[in-house]
Symmetry: C2
Subunit: 233 residues, 2 copies
DNA sequence: CGCGTGTTTGAACAAGTTCAACCGGCGTGG
DNA sequence: CCACGCCGGTTGAACTTGTTCAAACACGCG
């Protein structure tokens, strides 16, 4: 904020400090260590819908979300695409290319106006060696991502669509700590994420509504009426 | 080997050195550093079929496979189980419990007589701080696991069973560098891994055979006749 | 206001699961 | 050493689930 002397700080590209001081992987460092990192950061700004990187790109930097939201999708061998996860402020991506030399297998797209901070591989590896605690943070993040990813695989492999939707809604309740919330993505994207089609999502949600488990206030706004009942289908 | 002065070294529990000097996460260290790690290691031996840890266990150690093979499975919310991955010599598991306090969501079972080396959380975290290069190795392993796991999710979500089987066989060819190989697991387990049923696996494989893509020499022995044709179904 | 994309609904269709029966190899215990 | 039993694998047929395609709709954004 300090070195931002005009209107909207969100659009002030000299303000990289927040990237570093806000995100979990760095915010435990000493001030002078953080400053050192701030020095090496390059900012990036993307309009809604803009592609940040594509499958096949030889990425060599870590992207940290400073503002906005990013959608990460993969293409399957036969060309169909799947939404893998959504990055919120403080999340990062680009890991694959950081620890192996390979290219991206996924692509990243801004879901709204988004600002990121980029750290290139060489710089990051330096910091990892000098400040081992950063590695511990990233390891912790990785292990939780791994956990989530494997859980998702198991769900898609073993649960029927209905159950997957119910579990997803239950997680939204959890995250928002409220029975009323807005879906974090379109139903189309949700279908892609859950490994089904928009049609099926639509149908199952009206089924849930008919059964009295939920109420769809608008396309995205949900009110859960009977969580227990819904997840135990 | 040196400090093993009786019969079968496989059953010699004073020989922990190989765990450390063989596995990728440690084998780049200096001798004295390795010795330090060897000191803290506890060995574990498991008969075929034995459970190494179960879902719900509050694990607090990293398991490194010294010999044998371990099957990692998860239980879905509704109780169905899925094979997540198979650990070979040099692979490790237990990561979840290492960087968070939580309990295991998966369980591990020895597929044959298996020996592991265990390092507890406290010791490992110490080494990670003192020898940052270990973190880099683990990060690299994690990122490749993450990649694989996400690829698997995408496959299960978007590809039909036939394609998943074909891709799996193609990977076996790749790994064995030969058109002839033995399946790394039973067809029952394969079904669980690919998110389908043994019946379907059986049927699709005979379909492949009828189409002239493969030849099943025995239950586990496969010969790929037309890789191109098979994967482009 | 109008276009485009996301959403809903219907009906036919495809894919894979389920259940049940049967086969065969392997290990165990008599 | 043989017989039995168990588990993995195979096959058939009915059944369930979810997809696909097509059409109509609606909401939001320019």
């Amino acid at each position: 904020m300090d070195n931002c002397n005009h209107g909207n700080c969100h659009h002030c590209n000299t303000n990289h400090k927040s990237c570093v001081s806000l995100v979990p992987i760095f915010n435990h460092l000493e001030d002078n260590q953080m400053n050192e990192i701030v020095e090496t950061i390059k900012p990036g700004k993307y309009k809604k819908g803009e592609i940040i990187y594509s499958a096949g790109d030889s990425s060599d930097s870590l992207y940290i979300v400073n503002m906005g939201r990013i959608k990460i999708s993969r293409l399957s061998e036969s060309g169909k695409e799947q939404l893998v996860r959504i990055l919120e402020v403080g999340d990062f991506t680009g890991e694959l290319a950081l620890f192996s030399e390979s290219t991206h297998e996924s692509y990243a797209q801004a879901m709204e106006y988004t600002e990121v901070c980029m750290i290139n591989r060489r710089d990051l590896q330096n910091f990892l060696i000098r400040y081992p605690s950063i590695s511990l943070k990233i390891l912790s993040e990785f292990s939780s991502r791994l956990e989530k990813s494997e859980r998702q695989t198991t769900r898609v492999s073993t649960e029927k669509v209905e159950t997957r939707i119910a579990l997803f809604l239950a997680e939204c309740v959890d995250k928002n700590k409220s029975m009323e919330f807005t879906l974090p993505m379109s139903k189309k994207d949700l279908a892609s994420y859950l490994g089904t089609t928009p049609e099926t999502i639509s149908r199952k949600l009206t089924d849930f509504e008919d059964a009295g488990y939920i109420k769809q206030k608008t396309a995205r706004k949900m009110l859960i009426l009977d969580l227990e009942g819904m997840v135990s289908v």
